[in-house]
């Protein structure tokens, strides 16, 4: 019975990741990460996702703070967006990366209104990504639990 459950869960995982590719939420870089996971590093993807989310939340909090000042420090804002863009690119978070590009542009133009709009977009994309990642990780953990039961 466990074998069937594991197979079903793995299929569910695969389909869900595929849907994220189809929606443009993830790009091929995420596949590269999956390829780096093996029996010697069985939690690699999980670990990267966790690191990414913690880092992203830290950066988003900082950006929010900068945007709340009357006089926005655009260069500080830009350096934070740059960081988030880099992380997004490294994990394959495609739409989030694009949202960062928009904020960089608005920041470069020193347009506060557009920055706020772009920032809201970033927050939205991040929340979406995070909830999808959480779902993926739940499936992953159930698979691991079942596989451990078998041993």
């Amino acid at each position: 019975m466990n074998q069937m459950a594991i197979a079903a869960l793995k299929n569910q995982y695969k389909s869900f990741v595929q849907s994220m590719f189809d929606e443009g939420v993830l790009d091929n870089q995420f596949s590269q990460l999956q390829d780096l996971q093996d029996s010697s590093n069985p939690n690699f993807v999980d670990e990267v996702i966790t690191l990414f989310c913690n880092d992203a939340e830290r950066i988003i909090t900082e950006m929010n703070r900068y945007l709340n000042y009357q006089n926005v420090d655009f260069s500080k804002l830009d350096s934070h967006v740059h960081q988030l863009k880099g992380s997004s690119s490294s994990i394959g978070a495609h739409r989030l990366k694009l949202a960062c590009v928009n904020l960089r542009q608005a920041s470069y133009e020193r347009n506060k209104e557009e920055c706020v709009e772009a920032f809201n977009s970033i927050r939205h994309e991040y929340c979406l990504l995070r909830s999808k990642f959480q779902f993926l990780m739940q499936i992953e953990r159930r698979i691991v639990a079942l596989e451990n039961n078998q041993q």
């Binding site: 690191l51 990414f52 690119s89």
Partner: protein, 201 residues
Amino acid sequence: MAADSEFHVLAVDDSIIDRKLIERLLKTSSFQVTTVDSGSKALEFLGLHEDDGIINTNTPSVSPNNHQWCLQEVEVNLVITDYCMPGMTGYDLLKKIKESSSLKNIPVVIMSSENVPSRISRCLEEGAEEFLLKPVRLSDLNKLRPHMLKTKIKDHQEPEKQDKEEKQQQPQSNNNNRKAMEEGISTEKIRPRLNGITAMV
């Protein structure tokens, strides 16, 4: 390949995610890895203190100019560094390594998320062996091994043999080869690669 497990790469990146990634990529390629989050920590690890000068050298051989014998526990065969870092950039780190008599023979590879041709040329001119665009892939790391092998061969051969090797590899005059070896950088090699890079860009 047993030889590969002897290669030790120092990876420098201020991003925790990128450090994790590059570490996994390098380990998957059978390299030993040390990661640090800044250029200054990289220099510390390499035994070069900005204020104090050299206290430890990284090359196993001792040249007549060295005042100190090396007590070096860890040999670094390649430095791979992010370009954009707060404080000391990857370019600054590259410069410091190439300006150091003890470290200049260590191959340096630069990574960047931004494809800026002038940035690429600048790094290659300063002596970087490769410029990799992020996100770095496993296939990119295949370019690293040749640079590390070259350095190992250079370190372990006697001077006469080294001349012969260079002669066989490049149809150039002896004077050019000797000068290139002394500088630790083959300027002749950089130009063709520059062309290669600009063609890709």
